[in-house]
Symmetry: C2
Subunit: 396 residues, 2 copies
Amino acid sequence: MTKVYLDHSAAAPLLPEVREAMMPYLGMDFGNPLSLHDWGDAPRDALEEARVQVAALIGAANPEEVIFTASGTESNNFAIKGLALAQQNKGKHIVISAIEHFSVMNSAKFMEKLGYEVSEVPVDKNGLVDPENVGKAIRPDTVLVSIMHANGEVGTIQPLAEISKITKEKKVVLHTDAVATCGAIPVSVKELGVDALSLAGNPFYGPKGSAALWVRRGVRILPLMDGGIQEGGRRAGTEDIAAIIGMGKAAQIAARDLVERGQKLTQIRDQLINGLPAKIPHVVVTGDLVKRLPGHASFCVEFIEGEAMLMMLNSQGVAVSSGSSCTSRALKASHVLLAMGYNHEIAQGSLLFTMGIQNKPEDIDHVLNVMPPIVERLREMSPVYSKFIKANKGGQ
Amino acid sequence: MTKVYLDHSAAAPLLPEVREAMMPYLGMDFGNPLSLHDWGDAPRDALEEARVQVAALIGAANPEEVIFTASGTESNNFAIKGLALAQQNKGKHIVISAIEHFSVMNSAKFMEKLGYEVSEVPVDKNGLVDPENVGKAIRPDTVLVSIMHANGEVGTIQPLAEISKITKEKKVVLHTDAVATCGAIPVSVKELGVDALSLAGNPFYGPKGSAALWVRRGVRILPLMDGGIQEGGRRAGTEDIAAIIGMGKAAQIAARDLVERGQKLTQIRDQLINGLPAKIPHVVVTGDLVKRLPGHASFCVEFIEGEAMLMMLNSQGVAVSSGSSCTSRALKASHVLLAMGYNHEIAQGSLLFTMGIQNKPEDIDHVLNVMPPIVERLREMSPVYSKFIKANKGGQ
């Protein structure tokens, strides 16, 4: 059977070069970078090389501003909790968007337990944050704004450079969750004007367990991991050198291939975004069509459920998601789609295709072939759909 | 040159079988365990198998009580912060010992910023906590006691089963940092009577980036990582499946080989503990001689500095530590040795040998050969030593 993997936002395969770069650190070079003897040398050098590679991917001037963590979720927890707590004497108000990843949303909710207040900035039908609304949400006691760079569920890229103009003017720290964009589109912390940025290695074919938080020099942050002196005292815990080296190598390759990858992925993305609604009636493309991640196609297929489609696509060898992988077993309508103004019924039909560099136009052809009969069969079983058909016939 | 690695508490090599078990998850089986399609199956099954393996190593009845994390430091942060915060309505007092790892100590210090109070239970000259002192430190508002199972710097194993009798009687949650003991000596959460236990994979030849916190069913804990639904909602973030599988495999092997490893390591440990003071005058063995980790030999060599010895041993191909690797670059006297009653001067001469399963008696012979001239040379350069010699001669 043809196998087509289109769920790269849930998990992406390691690049062979990345795996190769990691291997010595799963073998002979097992030492601790803090060790003063010879066994510490290779891991320490490799660690600092990876830091330079990751800094280069995001246009950071100072590699020491990169703090390695173990997941995008950790980076986001670290940012929200650490940046807010470091300024608790200044104020206890946090601003986020309504469509943040759960690691940002739930970290902000955690801060409410510590007496903080959280305001959510709304988004429009395309999932876009209006920078003016960020300005309006900022109060004198606001210490942190966190707006994601791009949303993993609907692919919309936010106007961060415009948002940062406002936060700079109002002297509020701006964090962005850039897990979906780093390695996918050009990211420059300088051009974005942010103060802190989360990224993870797996989205650009680095290992799971690799991630980082970049924090601009001079911006205060409290550790999430208290303990030893690793990462300049900002993130304790023995470094997972193999993962870090893998992330560094993947960052280096991503920086090199960024334009080429972007073009290729945009092409097959548009093949699907244009092809699916042309073949199947009552399909809505979610997210912005222009300000959109390459390799990201998301839809709501009306009258049926995303998970049912997912299972039937799986039986045809096609792997996709229905919303964020962090909630895919929760069977709830996505908070992202609801915030964009979709109703529960339509949001239930969410389907997310995330393409990778190994995908080819033929993979999309396969999806466009197998999807229509799947949707047709599911709609035949759908009471909502038969009601809709009857109503439409009745109206004739 | 003969190469002898005796710094296993800083970093241990991966077992080849462990690396082999990890490889599929760095290759074809890259999927996300939360994925509903076929790519999620292998990682999900492997994740749950690893959970069973880790639970078995610590005698936990319910594998789902095991929460995977990314480091022993994370497990300790999670335990201290999460267990204390979950009970904040009951009280805000935490009891720890004076010789905890920095990830426990500094997590407790962090809680002071949130209005908690922390009491430190003292230790005796051998680094032992007196259970009675734990009882005395517990107040009506105490919500958490955290006493490490064994200390990584001096090897002393605490009487946890006696301590847990007291915490149970006083109905206070007991956590233990068992990073140094799991896989090294038999550990049973049931026999120890603890409510939560931290462990890490690398000390028993699993990968870095693998660790876990075991929390007894029914004990409330707040997440350190807020976000998605992974690990039963208790620890968000995409699972580092390769690391977790490696930890599971290493746990399985450790459980199988525990007795044999323990005997072997105890033998070469005692070879060094007996041999070094016999060959070099003014050498003190630190920690308890009986209640002691296998493979763990720690000393204070008087009149000279640990780091100078470490560097000279390194030039002879021998890798050791001077105190905890998390602080080895801080050039401060160990808080552990100071708490045990050693003065700053003697504590500066700290030297730590941690043996692994690949070490042989010949490795210890090598150390016993190269150490005496190193110490002699350093003492020749030591003003403190010449003062001591003069004073002794003057006294004759």
